[in-house]
């Protein structure tokens, strides 16, 4: 039988079916991948970038984890050889391979990502970007939160003290004083500490104030030491760069963390001054009369005890953060209250930070917004308290019978006078308030694969207010019945940074390019000072200046100035197969502070690195995990600490008037020469380093050797007023060199089960030398600095000398030759003879140097189960300190008017040169300080809660031969290493702390 009519399956239908089946087959060949990413602690990790690729193909898909850490790739072709790569800032990139996707199947994957902590996988923050440690070609030390020093710190940089080879930090116990920081020796001899300060970059904002950040909010600090690392910051980088990265968002849905500590601080050391009976006996034995006004016959006052106290300090830090798929946010609040150990001195600081990040267009646009506001309130004491607490007579009482403070008003007035230190504290109120607002917005656009464009705009406004009132009994305002002064000054900084980066890896070739532009304008000194005096009452202090009866206003020396910096910069990095690394960078900087002929300068750098451990010949050297050698050369400038008008001819009226037509009027006269050739100080550094990780990661470290040469040093040269309008000229003349070696070692000698011991050592040696201070235009055979006054010793040009061949901070004093038969101090004269009369300046010679030969730190961490114990020792060696405080005190001829230390009582009262500043008072400044011991316990908690308690002690003991209160004397500035009657004693601190995270 045959069908007639239509065939049930026509031919086209068969074909269609076949096609459909074929099609179905195609659809059936895909599957899904679902995954969960968690942290090591098991918390979900939102916002992690997940990339899916397949071996030997161009297949690539990208997604991001959602708010509960989940990601999904749909319709993935069924195949084998898939690779999942997940990355997140602060975490080691996770790579899983050899996944197979089956048709119509769902593949589930889950893995945990580890936080970065291994040395080489670390991401190092560098100027305008970041690098993995293995890509680094410069000398950069990273210190992470967990390695920061523990203590009552208002200045974040103190957390690095002793932790970074080559970084020399000193700070007294004054809560209102900032630390002095100097990296790899001084490379300037200008006055003012700004010229020596490293350049701070906070979350990408160059030049931001370090005091806008609470130490507790800092996640890591990178210290960029050589020119290879710093030259991208050009004219501001000669003193090194410190990049601060603050706490950003933590993974997970939301986190609340609270940390706090309370601390007790005491004076760490006092000077043994004679007590009243010792002093009376000494004077009586020597038949020296003491006026009744200086001895009431009964009093025995210990002035050091009278002005000091136990200080209580506490800090609270509350932070909240969270994130979802497209945005992250964080808020933190920090409050620090730091009570000084000298009565009347204290500071508190309140810092609020918020940061927001939003990601859009498949993460191709990233917007960041950071706002920080820091308010610091300081209460200060007059500096004279620090000298009078030592030398005020113990033979008089604190107060008279009528309740008023005891004073000897017959003595000469003056700022360095003899005043009752307790009265100084109570009769004078000095308050400061600094309000720093920092706003920063960053937009990053991903344009093409590997090509990103970033624009960052930031605004910083710092308002400094100082209020001062010397009351009607104040010895500092004896001519007035009350003196009040207010100063309100704002400094603003606007910065625009705009840069593009291109980072791609092509097989074995890894390329990273950077090009950018920067514009900055600083407007400083916008404000005024006013004063009033002769008030009817002390009650109103500075709050109603108009009520003063005084007529002269002290306007101070405050004037507004604008400084503009414009820069172009570029950097190219290339590495071949992780083995050979090359980098070159160039920055062109222009500054309005410099002379019209020299406003623009170029700052280049080149460097090479070789990762030896990636070489085939090293494959069998099993004990070497990492071995890298790197070398670089670069040039940077120093333009910080500059008045915006330094290079200009300025007419001023000074502080004096002249008499014209029966009136006193202001005159106009040049107060500064113009120098159209003025330019930045230029520092060229050659740095060679080796990084290594050995013995299965048990020992790691690096060694750096550098040769840093600074030229065009700026000095004020005396010029003849027959040729120039003004008697000094600020010019680029001198040269200086710093050569040194730095070693950082970290080792884990023991790691068994519950117990581990890690130990880290830093050592740094630097030799500073001034190589020239003259050229063919300007010459000086030397500059005398530190020309402070000392009793009976005027006609001295300075106690330090800046001279070719000498280090900065060379002490220039008499050379002590012991006592003669009469018990009188003798000195070596210029002609070599010894006499007690050779005290003129012409007999002075170099008697020491403030530059240390060695700076070191040694940190040990022990862990046992939940316990951790940290012990940190640091110190310096090979430097001297001019103990002018001791010299001044050690004056037996004045023992009936100012107190002397107990040690003086065994010296002849006839020695009228005992206190003359000589090599006798140039003392070794070497010390070893037990800086910190911290014992902590971390509670085992459920899930992601964390709770840690700790107890800590700072400055537990010190080993030193120094005879002053403490050898940690200011190391920075033009005249380092001088202890001259103004040292706020260092403290010893005991602290209890708690950190908790929910």
């Amino acid at each position: 039988m045959t069908f007639r009519g239509k065939r049930p399956f026509p031919r086209y239908a068969v074909l269609l079916l076949f096609a459909v089946l074929l099609h179905l087959k195609v659809f059936a060949q895909t599957g899904d991948i679902k995954g969960l990413i968690r942290t090591e602690k098991g918390e979900p990790l939102p916002g992690a970038t997940v990339i899916l690729t397949r071996n030997a193909s161009s297949f690539s898909k990208v997604t991001r984890t959602d708010s509960i850490g989940l990601f999904r790739f749909s319709k993935v072709p069924a195949d084998t050889g898939y690779v999942i790569k997940a990355s997140y800032i602060g975490y080691t990139t996770h790579v899983s391979e050899r996944y197979s996707v089956k048709a119509n199947d769902q593949l589930s994957v889950a893995f945990r990502m580890q936080e970065n902590n291994g040395q080489l996988s670390d991401v190092v923050v560098i100027g305008y970007g970041s690098r993995s440690r293995s890509e680094m070609v410069g000398a950069v030390t990273t210190v992470k939160k967990e390695d920061f020093n523990v203590g009552v710190y208002s200045d974040p940089v103190q957390m690095l003290q002793g932790k970074v080879a080559g970084l020399n930090i000193s700070r007294s116990g004054n809560p209102n004083e900032n630390a002095a920081v100097i990296l790899r020796g001084p490379s300037s001899f200008r006055s003012g500490t700004d010229a020596y300060e490293p350049f701070y970059v906070i979350d990408g904002v160059p030049g931001a104030s370090i005091y806008s950040v609470a130490p507790g909010d800092i996640e890591s600090m990178e210290v960029l030491k050589d020119a290879v690392s710093t030259s991208i910051y050009g004219s501001r980088a000669a003193n090194g760069v410190i990049i601060i990265t603050t706490r950003k968002f933590r993974s997970g849905q939301s986190h609340l963390s609270y940390s706090t500590y309370g601390a007790v601080e005491r004076i760490s050391n006092t000077i043994k001054m004679a007590n009243a009976s010792q002093l009376r006996a000494y004077l009586a034995t020597n038949n020296v009369a003491i006026d009744a006004i200086n001895d009431d016959g009964v009093s025995n006052t210990d002035w050091q005890k009278e002005v000091t106290r136990t200080g209580f300090s506490h800090n609270h830090n509350l932070a909240y953060s969270g994130s979802n798929q497209n945005s992250s946010y964080g808020v933190s609040v920090n409050y620090l209250n730091n009570e000084g150990i000298i009565k009347g001195s204290s500071m508190n600081r309140f810092v609020v930070r918020t940061n927001l990040q939003h990601r859009a267009f498949n993460d191709r646009l990233k917007l960041d917004m950071n706002v920080t506001n820091s308010i610091t309130n300081g209460k200060q004491i007059p500096g004279q308290v620090l000298s009078n607490m030592l030398t005020y007579m113990p033979t008089v009482p604190v107060k008279n019978a009528d309740g008023s403070y005891y004073e000897d008003r017959s003595r000469t007035t003056g700022t360095s006078g003899y005043y009752n230190p307790v009265a100084l504290i109570n009769d004078n109120t000095i308050q400061s308030k600094a309000n720093i607002l920092l706003v920063n917005g960053i937009a990053t656009v991903n344009i093409l694969k590997g090509l990103d464009f970033t624009t960052s705009v930031s605004y910083q406004r710092q308002r400094n207010d100082t209020d001062l009132y010397y009351n009607s009994s104040s010895m500092l305002a004896q001519d007035y019945t009350g003196y009040a002064q207010r100063t309100n000054v704002s400094n603003t900084k606007k910065v625009l940074e705009s840069f593009a980066t291109y980072e791609r890896r092509f097989d074995k070739h890894n390329i990273k390019l950077l090009g950018g532009y920067s514009w900055q304008e600083d407007r400083n000194g916008d404000g005024y000072q006013v004063s009033g005096y002769n008030f009817v009452s002390d009650d109103l202090k500075w709050n109603n200046l108009g009520q003063g009866n005084g007529t002269t206003v002290n306007y101070g020396d405050i004037y507004v100035s604008t400084l503009r910096l414009i820069s172009f910069y570029g950097r190219a990095f290339y590495d071949y197969n992780g083995r050979f690394l090359f980098q070159g960078s160039l920055r062109r900087d222009g500054s309005s502070a410099f002379g019209t002929n020299n406003r623009w300068g170029y700052f280049p750098s080149v460097s090479v690195g070789w990762n030896l451990h990636n070489e085939r010949f090293m494959k069998n050297v099993n004990f070497v995990n990492v071995l890298k050698v790197r070398a670089g050369y670069g040039v940077v400038g120093n333009s910080t600490g500059f008045n915006a008008y330094t290079s200009r001819l300025i007419y001023g009226s000074g502080s004096s008037y002249f008499y014209y037509n029966g009136e006193w009027i202001n005159s106009l006269t040049p107060v500064q020469n113009d120098n159209p050739d003025l330019k930045w100080e230029r520092t060229a550094t050659m740095n060679v380093g080796v990084d290594f990780v050995l013995f299965n990661n048990k020992l790691s470290g690096s060694v750096d050797v550098y040769d840093k040469r600074t030229t065009d040093l700026i000095g004020d040269y005396t010029v003849s007023t027959t040729q120039y309008p003004y008697s000094t000229m600020t010019a680029n003349v001198g040269a200086m060199s710093n050569k040194g070696i730095e070693l950082a070692l970290s080792t884990t000698p023991v790691k068994t089960g519950k117990f581990s011991w890690t130990s880290a050592v830093t050592l740094a040696h630097n030799v500073n030398k001034i190589t020239s201070i003259s050229n063919d235009l300007f010459s000086a055979s030397q500059f005398y600095t530190a020309g402070f006054s000392a009793r009976g010793q005027s006609g001295i040009n300075g106690y330090q000398i800046i001279k070719e061949g000498m280090p900065l901070g060379s002490f220039y004093t008499l050379k002590y030759a012991g006592k003669n038969a009469d018990g009188k101090s003798t000195f070596v004269a210029a002609d070599g003879t010894v006499s007690s009369d050779s005290t003129a300046f012409t007999n002075f010679q170099v008697t020491g140097s403030a530059q240390p030969k060695l700076i070191y730190g040694w940190n040990n961490t022990f862990r046992y189960g939940q316990f951790d114990l940290n012990i940190f020792v640091r110190g310096v060696y090979g430097n001297q300190i001019l103990n002018a405080t001791r010299a001044d005190m050690n004056a037996p001829i004045y023992a009936n008017t100012t107190n002397v230390p107990v040690s003086t009582l065994s010296e002849s009262i006839k020695d009228d040169k005992d206190h003359f500043i000589s090599s006798r008072y140039v003392e070794s400044g070497a010390y070893l300080r037990m800086d910190n011991a911290t014992l902590g316990y971390s509670f085992a908690t459920k899930k992601n809660y964390q709770l840690r308690v700790y107890a800590s002690g700072n400055n537990l003991f010190i080993i030193t031969k120094y005879k002053g209160i403490d050898p940690e004397i200011n190391v920075a500035g033009q005249t380092p290493g001088i202890d001259n009657r103004s040292y706020y004693p260092k403290t010893r601190t005991f602290l209890l702390g708690l950190n908790v995270t929910f």
Binding site: A289, T413, T455, S498, V560, S656, T722
Partner: protein
């Protein structure tokens, strides 16, 4: 497409931003030129007068020219004011080229200021004020040159804006230059009857005449050629053309509230707040005198007179005797002023406990060595160490005594000389004279002009610079009549040649 858009936007932003390479910022708070207005030029001349109304003049310069004479000395007071022997060297004439830099830098900065201001004035629009200011500043420059030539001998004559290190002119050349400058200034200077407030502290015709008179009086010493008749000419011109006369009250010339008067010709004006630098009281009085004079600060007990000089004040009835404090001290109510447990005793004698360091030792039994000057009377209105007393530089009494001296030296009328001399005497109630010697004139100048800055010039002119006073043994080389060129200047300018004997 999207990528292209991103690139376009980014590139635009970057170019727009990078386009800004302007580094010029406005200087908002400082003057970088002198305003081309009358007020601007008035203000511009101020820096010249500030050189006079300054500590550099009243302390630094003054000490060098006075502590090197018998008028004043600072003994080492038990370690205080030893100051590495500085004051001893000045007292004993044992200074070196390192000890005398301040007068030079003061004088030459004054000259440079004058040069600079004259250059500014030369560019101003022509006016009577410009003519007068130019003459005044030229007179001031002549005064600074006079001081420099008097102290250092062969000094450079400098010009504004030269980048070449100047060379020295001979003393005679500088003398001629000063003379020609003063003569050139004469037509432009104001000639008020007396120096009123409008001109107080600034040059007038009378200052030019008085300075010319002083220049000519010293000509024999400066150039080897006597010019006494010229000195007499200008003294006469001053006396006949001006309405100047001696003030009745000698002390009022130096008091804290001294101001324009009939006698003072040129003065360094001081103010306790606005032009500080005069602190005679602070460096002269003993601390225990604070209450008596109502001072707001404690004097620091430094300067006193040499006993030989103090002895000049022995004329009967001489009001100038009251310019000294000596012997046991009482307050105004007659109560003893106590120094420790004893009455303060400012002895004429200066007794050393250590000769090498010229140390008078600790104050025993209330004794504090040396007579103290209160000629520049202590100022109770000064809130601190700075006082309001103006310091006369040239005044009519000096002109009278110079005229008397010039007449004697020139063989002129002794009667006229005596008449002028006796005017000075009569004003202070001291006995008049009937005969007059050169030594009488020197002694009278000491009494009349004590601490006014002329003693060094006088002693040299009278050949008594090498004399004996205080702890100075005298008889030193006459090369000490010139100060050495400061060592610091020798470094700055290789063209300078050091004076003989240094």
């Amino acid at each position: 497409m999207k990528a292209l858009l991103y690139i376009a936007i980014s590139a635009t932003i970057m170019l727009a931003a990078a386009g800004c390479t302007k580094l010029d910022v406005p200087v908002e708070s400082q003057l970088t030129t002198i305003p081309n207005t009358q007020e601007g030029y008035v203000a511009a001349t101020g820096s010249v007068y500030q050189k006079m109304s300054s500590q550099s003049f009243a302390v630094d310069f003054w000490r060098v020219i006075e502590l090197s004479t018998d008028e004043a000395m600072i003994p080492n007071r038990n370690g205080s004011y030893y100051d590495n022997g500085q004051y001893i060297k000045w007292h004993k004439h044992t200074w070196t080229s390192s000890d005398l830099a301040t007068p030079w830098s003061w004088g030459y900065s004054g000259i440079s200021e004058c040069n600079r201001v004259l250059n500014l004035l030369s560019k101003a629009d022509s006016s009577t004020l410009r003519t007068q200011f130019t003459a005044e500043i030229r007179t001031m420059r002549a005064l600074f040159y006079f001081y420099m030539m008097d102290l250092y001998g062969n000094v450079p004559i400098t010009t504004y804006g030269s980048t070449v290190s100047p060379t020295q002119s001979t003393r005679a050349e500088v003398f001629n230059y000063i003379e020609s400058e003063l003569l050139a200034a004469v037509p432009g200077l104001a000639a008020p009857s007396t120096v009123t407030l409008a001109y107080y502290g600034r040059p007038t015709l009378w200052m030019a005449y008085a300075l010319l008179q002083k220049l000519y009086l010293n000509a024999a010493y400066y150039t080897g050629t006597a010019r006494y008749s010229d000195a007499i000419t200008y003294g006469n011109k001053l006396m006949s053309e001006s309405g100047l006369s001696l003030e009745k009250n000698y002390m009022s010339l130096f008091s804290p509230d001294n101001t324009a008067n009939k006698e003072t010709i040129f003065v360094a004006v001081f103010d306790a707040n606005k032009a500080t630098g005069n602190y005679f009281t602070r460096y002269t009085l003993h601390g225990t005198l604070k209450a008596k004079y109502g001072l707001n600060f404690s004097p620091s007990n430094a300067m006193c007179a040499s006993p030989e000089f103090f002895d000049l004040f022995s004329l009967t009835g001489d009001a100038r005797d009251t310019t000294w404090l000596s012997g046991l001290q009482y307050d105004f109510a007659g109560n003893k002023i106590m120094n420790g447990s004893y009455q303060l005793n400012l002895t004429r004698e200066i007794t050393l406990t250590d000769a090498a360091t010229m140390n008078v030792g600790a104050e025993v039994n209330g004794i504090s060595c040396g007579a103290r000057s209160i000629k520049f009377y202590p100022d109770p209105n000064a809130v601190n160490r700075y006082q309001n007393n103006d310091i006369p530089v040239l005044r009519l009494a000096d002109v009278y005594l110079m005229q008397a001296e010039a007449l004697l030296r020139n063989g002129g009328s002794t009667a006229t000389a005596m008449e002028l001399f006796n005017k000075v005497r009569a004003r202070v109630g001291a006995p008049t004279v009937t005969s007059l010697s050169l030594q009488d004139i020197l002694d009278e100048r000491g009494r009349e002009l004590a601490w006014e800055g002329w003693r060094r010039n006088d002693l040299i002119r009278f050949g008594q610079w090498e004399g004996t006073w205080g702890f100075k043994t005298g008889g030193e080389s006459t090369s000490r009549r010139l100060f050495p060129i400061p060592a610091t200047e020798m470094v700055l300018n290789a063209n300078l040649v050091q004076n003989d004997g240094y």
